[in-house]
Structure formats: structure tokens, C-alpha cells
Symmetry: C2
Subunit: 174 residues, 2 copies
């Protein structure tokens, strides 16, 4: 467990709410965690096998079509808590969007401006998508509601910031 490996912790986190199969978890990734930690089917099944081998989760039931339901073990919960409290979040995730900005100077100013206005538009659109998501969710006072709402607020503020920044930058280019 050297670095990163957050897929592991994402799986442990989802299983901390309730037991689930790989297929269930895949669906929940697609809906709730897609914006924060996308994962593919391939990767998930492999990771679940490793987590079970390491004793952090266990097969608690088997169903039709070879379905295996996994449950978080005490060791798994301990590892999840450890990750949350004792390990530092990554400082700066890589950003190819921002990397491009560094090199916009190789383009004619007009095309550089088009890149920035394109960013404005995608930010505005994503903001609206998140607003729609916010309206569609039935927010209760369960764990996922409380913290999911906080994560969603981050997305809203981020996209608002991005749109304003891109507008500022486009104007700055003249």
C-alpha cells in the first residue's frame, strides 16, 4: 500500500454503508462517484479480489449468475478510518486543462481565446448539470446525503470559479 490506491478506499467506503456485489458497486460508481473517482469494470473486479485476499472485505453471500456479495470486515473499516485520518490528501492533481494554458502562446491569439471561451462554456454546462443533479436527489439526513451534498457544493463552486476565471483570462488577452 505505497501510494494512491484510492480505488481501494472508494470500494471500502461504499461497502461501509452496506454490502454489495461488484456489479452493484459498478453501478454506484457510475451514478454517485463518477465525477470524483471514475473506475472501470475491469479494474473493480480485480481490486475486489485483492481486497478479499487481504482480508479487508469478505464474501458474505452468493447469488444467481455467480454473484458474490462483499461485506466490509473490521480490518477493512479500520483501514478506511486510517486512510481518512492519517494519510494526507494529494496536494495538486494533474490538470491537462491548465497544462494547455501554459502553451497557448504557440497558437494565434484568436485560437487561444477560443480555447478559453470553450472552457467557459463547459464550466457553465457542468454547473447546470450539477444543479440538475442537486434537484433530482432526495436529500435526507443520512451520511451520503450530508456529505454528498458537501461534495456537490464543491463541484458547483469549482465550476463557477472556472467560468469566471476563463472569462477574466479571455478578456485579459484582449
Amino acid at each position: 500500500m505505497v501510494r494512491g490506491m484510492s480505488l481501494r478506499h472508494a470500494l471500502l467506503g461504499l461497502l461501509s454503508e452496506r454490502p454489495a456485489s461488484g456489479y452493484d458497486l459498478l453501478k454506484r460508481f457510475e451514478t454517485s462517484l463518477a465525477n470524483v473517482w471514475p473506475a472501470t469494470q475491469s479494474q473493480m473486479y480485480g481490486e475486489l479480489t485483492k481486497l478479499a485476499a487481504a482480508g479487508l472485505i469478505s464474501v458474505s453471500a452468493e447469488g444467481p449468475r455467480g454473484r458474490k456479495e462483499y461485506t466490509l470486515t473490521d480490518e477493512g473499516l479500520a483501514e478506511l478510518r486510517h486512510w481518512l485520518t492519517e494519510t494526507a490528501p494529494q496536494r495538486n492533481p494533474r490538470s491537462d486543462t491548465l497544462l494547455r494554458v501554459f502553451f497557448l502562446g504557440v497558437l494565434p491569439r484568436e485560437q487561444a481565446g477560443a480555447y478559453l471561451t470553450g472552457l467557459m462554456e463547459t464550466s457553465a454546462k457542468e454547473y447546470e448539470d450539477l444543479r440538475a443533479l442537486e434537484r433530482s436527489v432526495d436529500w435526507g439526513d443520512d451520511r451520503l446525503s450530508v456529505y454528498g451534498r458537501i461534495a456537490l457544493e464543491y463541484g458547483l463552486r469549482l465550476n463557477e470559479m472556472k467560468r469566471e476565471w476563463a472569462a477574466w483570462a479571455a478578456e485579459r488577452l484582449g
Copy 2:
């Protein structure tokens, strides 16, 4: 060239300003691009070899200690322009910081609050670091100055947003 591969483009981008050796590029990554696209020494030398084999850069001079100076070729510049204009930036980079937020509910509320106030502090500190960087740079009107300043502004606004968001979230928990 299937997906991502932005290290390639970062190298092409830096070489579009002036020729440089692997060692030079490593230093420039450490200073200017560290916050946006960190890269290790190992990875860079390997990537430079591949780029040269693909004809996107070429060895333009050799110096002491086996130093090889690379220069961007016409093909390399075309590829850089193509990446800037024809390929879409990644929509959502993974965020382990935000992933943790989803699962803060497994901690006692006090510890969840501590995580959020910790984020406030790191954002505030990074904001100050960037302000210091801003003051230390001699901003001219060359390409890197214009677009580097825009990228830095993004960092400033991002950290301001993060700090406010974390404060809002911590208060929301009560």
C-alpha cells in the same frame, strides 16, 4: 497515442520555447510546471527517447557528460498545435480529497470537522505560497509570462474557493 499522454505534450510545449536537454527540462518542471504536471526524472528521459524515435523532437547538439540537447521538429510543433486545438481536456480529474469527503460519515463528527479545517489551512497556505511565487517572478510580456500568470491566477482562485468551501462545510456540520 491512445489517451492522456500529456507528459509528451508538456515536453513538446517547453521545447517550443527553446531547445533543452533532459536535465534542463527536469529543472523547468520542478520550478514552473510542478503544480500542474509533476514528472519524475525516470519518466522524462524515457519519454524524450520515445519522442525522438517518433520524430517529434531531434537531438540538435551534444555536450559534456553525454548531454543531449533536443529541439522541437516541425512534426512536433504540429502535434503540439493539434493537441491544443483538436483534443478535449479531461472533464473531471480524480480527486482523493473529495473522495474522502464522501466517506467522512464513518468518522465521529469532530474528526470529520478536523479534516475540513485541515483543508482550510492547506488551502490558505498554498494561496500564500502562490502569492509569494507571484511576487518573486519578473513578469514580462513574453509567452510564458502572459500564460503563466493566467495559470497562476487559476491556482489563486482555486485555493480561495477551497478555503471558503471548507469553512462553509465545517460550519454546516455544526
